[in-house]
C-alpha cells in the first residue's frame, strides 16, 4: 500500500559520494531535502581504492571545496597519508593524493549529514519516480512511502541491476555485497531514458598481519603537512605507509593457466570496462611481453588490518585469486579477507542530459555520478555537487550553474559527458582539459569561490578567509613589483652569487628577478625582502610570475573559445527545419540540443560543415523574426 509520507523540495536517491554532495548542497541552499540510502551503514562508502585525489582528481576535489562542497574537508578529516605527486612536472599537473581511512571517511560524512539543517536521512529503496509533463512530482519507496517533491537527483552509483561476477559465480548485488536496486532502472526507462551497461571491478583485500613487508618497498607520505580544503587546519599528522611489490612470471603463468575460467574471456561479462583500469588478467594477456606489473599494497584504514592490492582488479575465480596473491613477493602466506570481483550495472547514457545534469526528457529529474557512466569518487562527488546546486536553483527559480571548460575540470567533465560518445566509464584526465595551465589545484579557490558565494554555498567564514587571501596576494604582488634593486646593491649582488644567478645589468624588480629559473620566492622571502606571508600565498605568486607567459597564452586561447560559447542557439530550435545538415549531425543536435555554437562543435558526429550550415540557418531565422 502506498501512503503519503511527506513533502520535500528535493529528494536525492543514493548516499554515495555524489548523493552526499547533492543533498548537502541542496539543504545548505535552503531547500527541504530528503536523502535516501539502501544502508545508512554504508553512506559515503569507498568500495574500491582507499584514496582520494591524483592528477585531475585533486583539482576536482579543490574545485568542490571552493564551491562549498564537502569532499575536501571530509578527506582531510579521514586522511592517513598525503603525498604530492607530479611535483617535477609543473604546477598545472601537480596533484595531491590522500590515503583515506574508509571507515573514518564514512563516519565523518554521516556526522556532517546528520548535523545539516533542512536535511533528512532515510534508509529506503526508491523503486519509482513519478512524473508528468510538468516534471517530477514524487518518489515511492519499496515500503510504500510516497514523498512529494519538486526535483529528484538520482545518484545510484553502480547499484542499478548490479551483478557481481567472480569466475563462474554470478549473483545480483551492489558493491561490497550490498543489496542492488533492481526496480529503479525500469522506472527510469518508463520515463523515457535510455540505459546502457558498464562494467568495473575491484581487487582482493588482504590481512596486514599475513604480509611480509621486508620484500616490499615502503612508500611513505610527504613529511610536510598537506590538505585538500582551503579551510582545513594545516597540521602534521601521523601517517601510514603504502608498500610497493610486483607480480612475477609465476603470477602470469597462473593467470594464463586459468584464463579459460576468466569471465572477461569466456564472454560472461558483456558490459564494457574502463581501459585505464583494466583487470589484471587483461594486463597479462595484452602486455604478454611484460614479465612483471607493479602492485601497491595500501591500508584501508587506521584501525583495520585490511589492505587493498592496487593493480590487481580481477574477476578470476576465487581459488585462482588466492594462487595469484601467493605468487607475489611478500604475499607468500597471505590471508585474503575479501575476494576481488567485477560488477556490471545500468547507467544512463549521458547525452540525454543537459549541462546542468538535468535530464532533457523529465524536468526536475537530475542524475549524477556513476549512473552517468563515470568512474571515480571525485568525478561522482563533483557531479553530485553540480546536480544538487542546479536542482536547488531550479526549485528556487534561479538561473542554472554551468561551469565552462575554461573555468573548471567540473566544466570539462560535464561537457564531455553530454557531448562526446563514451564507450567506457569516463574518467577525468588532465589531458582532457584544453586550458590545463589555468585549471590548477592551487587556484581553484581563485577560480570558483566567488561563484560558490553567489550560489549561497560559501559561508561567511570561508568568504572572509578567501578575501583575506586575496588582499594578501595583492599586497605581496605589489611588493614584488615595486621593490627594485640596482646593479650596485651589495646585498643583492651577494644573493645572486650565492644562488649562481647572473649579476644585474639594470635596475630590476623582485618580480622580474623571480622569473629567473634559478630563483625561488622562498629565497627572496628568507632575505627579508618580502613581508611575512603563508606558504600558499608565496606559492601562488611564484606560479603567476614564472608561468606568466604561458598563462597569458592560454588566456588568449580562452578568449577565442568563449566567443563561440557565447553564440547561443535558440532553445526552441527544430533541427528538422535546418537545411543542409548531415543526417548524423541532425540526430545528434536534435538529441543533445546544445546551448551554443561552441557546444555544438564539440558533439561527436557534428563536423565543421554542419556548424557552418547551422550558422547560415540561424542567420536566416534571425532575419525572418
Amino acid at each position: 500500500m502506498i501512503y503519503d509520507a511527506g513533502e520535500y523540495d528535493i529528494v536525492v536517491i543514493g548516499a554515495g559520494h555524489a548523493g552526499c554532495e547533492a543533498a548537502l548542497a541542496a539543504a545548505r541552499m535552503g531547500c527541504r531535502t530528503l536523502l535516501t540510502t539502501l544502508s545508512i551503514e554504508h553512506i559515503a562508502l569507498m568500495p574500491c581504492n582507499p584514496s582520494v585525489g591524483g592528477p585531475a582528481k585533486a583539482q576536482v576535489v579543490r574545485e568542490i571545496d571552493a564551491l562549498g562542497g564537502e569532499m575536501a574537508i571530509n578527506t582531510d578529516k579521514a586522511s592517513i597519508q598525503m603525498r604530492m605527486i607530479n611535483t617535477g612536472k609543473g604546477p598545472a599537473v601537480q596533484a595531491l593524493r590522500a590515503q583515506a581511512d574508509k571507515h573514518q571517511y564514512h563516519l565523518a560524512m554521516v556526522d556532517t549529514l546528520l548535523r545539516q539543517p533542512n536535511l533528512n536521512l532515510l534508509m529506503a529503496e526508491v523503486e519509482k519516480i513519478e512524473a508528468d509533463q510538468n516534471g517530477v512530482s514524487a518518489v515511492i519507496t519499496k515500503t510504500g512511502a510516497r514523498f512529494l517533491c519538486k526535483a529528484v537527483v538520482v545518484t545510484s552509483g553502480t547499484y542499478l541491476k548490479g551483478r557481481i561476477i567472480i569466475g563462474d559465480v554470478i549473483y545480483d548485488g551492489g558493491p561490497n555485497n550490498q543489496v542492488p536496486a533492481m526496480k529503479l532502472s525500469q522506472s527510469l526507462m518508463d520515463l523515457g531514458l535510455t540505459l546502457g551497461r558498464f562494467k568495473t571491478g575491484t581487487p582482493p583485500r588482504i590481512n596486514r598481519r599475513s604480509v611480509d613487508f621486508s620484500k616490499m618497498i615502503e612508500q611513505p607520505g610527504d613529511e610536510r603537512p598537506l590538505r585538500f580544503s582551503y579551510i582545513s587546519p594545516l597540521k602534521p599528522r601521523e601517517q601510514i605507509s603504502c608498500w610497493l611489490t610486483h607480480s612475477t612470471p609465476l603470477t602470469h603463468q597462473i593467470v594464463m593457466d586459468n584464463i579459460h575460467r576468466a569471465p572477461m574471456f569466456t564472454g560472461v561479462i558483456k558490459g564494457r570496462g574502463p581501459r585505464y583500469c583494466p583487470s589484471f588478467e587483461d594486463k597479462v594477456v595484452r602486455f604478454a611481453h611484460k614479465s612483471s606489473h607493479q602492485l601497491f599494497i595500501e591500508p584501508e584504514g587506521r584501525y583495520t588490518d585490511e589492505m587493498y592490492v592496487q593493480g590487481l582488479n580481477t574477476s578470476l575465480p576465487e581459488d585462482v585469486q588466492l594462487q595469484v596473491l601467493r605468487s607475489i613477493p611478500g604475499l607468500e602466506n597471505v590471508h585474503m579477507m575479501r575476494t576481488g570481483y567485477a560488477i556490471e550495472y545500468d547507467y544512463v547514457i549521458p547525452s540525454q542530459l543537459q549541462l546542468t545534469l538535468e535530464t532533457q526528457a523529465i524536468p526536475g529529474l537530475f542524475t549524477a555520478g556513476q549512473i552517468n557512466g563515470t568512474s571515480g569518487y571525485e568525478e561522482a562527488a563533483g557531479q553530485g555537487l553540480i546536480a544538487g546546486i542546479n536542482a536547488a536553483l531550479k526549485v528556487q527559480g534561479r538561473d542554472p550553474l554551468i561551469l565552462k571548460r575554461s573555468e573548471a575540470y567540473l566544466g570539462v567533465l560535464i561537457d564531455d559527458l553530454v557531448n562526446k560518445e563514451n564507450d567506457e566509464p569516463y574518467r577525468l584526465l588532465t589531458s582532457r582539459a584544453e586550458y590545463r595551465l589555468l585549471l590548477r589545484q592551487d587556484n581553484a579557490d581563485l577560480r570558483l569561490t566567488a561563484i560558490g558565494r553567489e550560489i549561497g554555498l560559501v559561508d561567511d567564514t570561508r568568504w572572509e578567509a578567501f578575501n583575506r587571501k586575496l588582499e594578501r596576494l595583492s599586497a605581496a604582488k605589489q611588493q614584488l613589483k615595486e621593490t627594485t634593486f640596482t646593479p650596485g646593491d651589495a646585498e643583492m649582488a651577494s644573493f645572486l652569487a650565492q644562488h649562481n644567478s647572473a649579476p644585474l645589468k639594470d635596475r630590476i624588480s623582485l618580480w622580474e628577478l623571480l622569473r629567473r629559473p634559478e630563483i625561488e620566492i622562498e629565497q627572496l622571502a628568507a632575505c627579508g625582502w618580502l613581508d611575512e606571508a603563508p606558504a600558499d600565498i608565496l606559492e601562488q605568486l611564484e606560479i603567476q610570475c614564472k608561468y606568466e607567459g604561458y598563462i597569458k597564452k592560454q588566456q588568449e586561447q580562452v578568449k577565442r573559445f568563449e566567443k563561440l560559447e557565447e553564440r547561443r542557439i535558440p532553445e526552441d530550435i527544430d533541427y528538422h527545419q535546418v537545411q543542409g545538415l548531415s543526417n548524423e549531425a541532425l540526430q545528434k543536435l536534435q538529441a543533445i540540443r546544445p546551448r551554443s555554437i561552441g557546444q555544438a562543435s564539440r558533439i561527436s558526429g557534428v563536423n565543421p560543415a554542419d556548424i557552418n550550415v547551422l550558422l547560415i540557418n540561424l542567420e536566416k531565422a534571425r532575419r525572418k523574426s
Binding site: L429, S431, P608
Partner: protein, 459 residues
Amino acid sequence: MLEDTIAAISTPPGEGGIAIIRVSGSDAINKVEAIFKPRQKGRIVSQLKGYQMILGWIVDDKDQPIDECLLAIMRKPHSYTAEDTVEIHCHGGVLAARQCLERVLTLGVREALPGEFTQRAYLNGRLDASQAEAVIEIIRARSKKALNLAMKQLTGYNSQYVHRLEDRLIQVTALIEASIDFPEDVGEPDYQEIAGLLSEVRDELARLLAAGKRAEIYRSGAKVVICGKPNVGKSSLLNWLSGWERAIVTEIPGTTRDIIEEYVNIKGIPVRLIDTAGIRRTEDRVEAIGIKMAQQAISEAELAIFLLDITSGITEEDKEIYQSLNPAKTIIFINKDDLLEKQIDTAQIERLFPGIPVIVGSVREEKGLSELEDIVEAMLLAGQGEPGDLEMLLSTRQQQILQRCMEQIGPITEMLGLVSLDCLAVEINEVIEVMGELTGRSLKAEAMERIFRDFCIGK
C-alpha cells in the same frame, strides 16, 4: 573560425592580364599593409579611405618586390563580405598571384575555403535571404570535395611521409601525457626519446617542405628567358624547344621585335619560354620598347639561357647583355659550333663568365640540346629537394600548415628540459593541432589511444 582573416585568389585560374587576391577580415588592411610598399612615399595603406586604390609592390621578407600591384581598399560594411577587405591586383598573372598569396599567408592569414567569402557575405547580411540555400550548397559541396581531395592527396606513396610525421607527433604527445596522467604507471618522461622524435619530425618536415616546393615547380611552372645579341639563334632555339616554327628566323638582325612567349615542356616542367628581342643600342623606337620589355622579362625569370655566337667571338654587346643577367641563374649556350670559324675558347669563357655552366653546340645541327635540357632541369630544381626523393604535391594550404609546424618545432627542441612538462605540453598541443589540419585527424585523440595501447595503465 568566424572572424579570422582569410585570403584567396579570386580571379579564375589560367593566364590573364591581371589576377586578384581578395583578403577579408578584421586584420585584412593591417596585414596587407605590412607587406606592401607604396610607390609614392609617405602614403599609408591603413589610412586610406574606402574605395581608394594605391599603386606599389608586394614585397618579400627582405623588402624585395614580388610583384607590382594595385591595392583596392574596402572598409566594412562596404565590401562583398561586409568585412574590411583588400583586393590585391597583381600584374604578373597567375604565377605572381600565387607568390603574392603565399606572402599574405605567411602573415597568419588563412587561405579561404571555396565559397567562404560568400558565406561571410551572407552571415554579415550582405546577401538576400533567398541565397542561403545556395550558400549551404557550397558548404556541403566543399566539405565533400575537401574530403575527396584530402584523401586523394594523401593516398599511396605520398601519405606514408605524412603518416610518419603524424605518428611521431602522436608518440611525443603520448609520452608526455602518459607521464602526467599516469605518473605511477609510467614515471618520468624520457626526454631523450622526446628530443629524438622531435628532431625526426623537424627533418621530415624539412624534407616535405623542400619536396613540396619542388613539386610546386612541376605544377605552376617556371619562366625561362632566352637572350643574346641579334641573330645569335634565339628564335631557332625557341622553335626547337617548342617544336614548331613560330618566330621568324632570318639572317637579318633585329627580326624579332616583340617578346615571343611559348609554353614548352622541359623534362616534365612546364616552362614559359620567353624569346627576348635582341638587346642593343638602337634608334628605332619600336625596337627600344622591345628591349625594355626584354630586360623586364630577364629580371622576372627563374633562369636565363644566354646565347653566344662562336663565329663572332665575345663582343662588347655580349658583355653588356651579361651585365643585365643574374650569374646564379644563367646558362651559356655557345651556338653555331657547326660552323668552321671558332672565335671563342673555354679559357676566355672561364675568365669572363666564371662559374657559369657552358654548353657548346648547334641548334641547327641539334647538337648539345639535350645536354641543355638537363642543365635547365637541374638548375630549376636546384635547392628544391633531392631529385627522385618525394613525389609530393602540396597545396598552398598544406605547405602553409607544414611551414607553421616547422616554425613551432624549432623553438620546442631548444626548450626541452628547460620548461616544465605542463608547459611543454602546451607547445606540443599547438603543433599537433596545426598538424591535424592537414588531414583532419585529431592527433590528440589518437595520442590518448596510443597511451592505452603502449603503456600498461591500471590501478
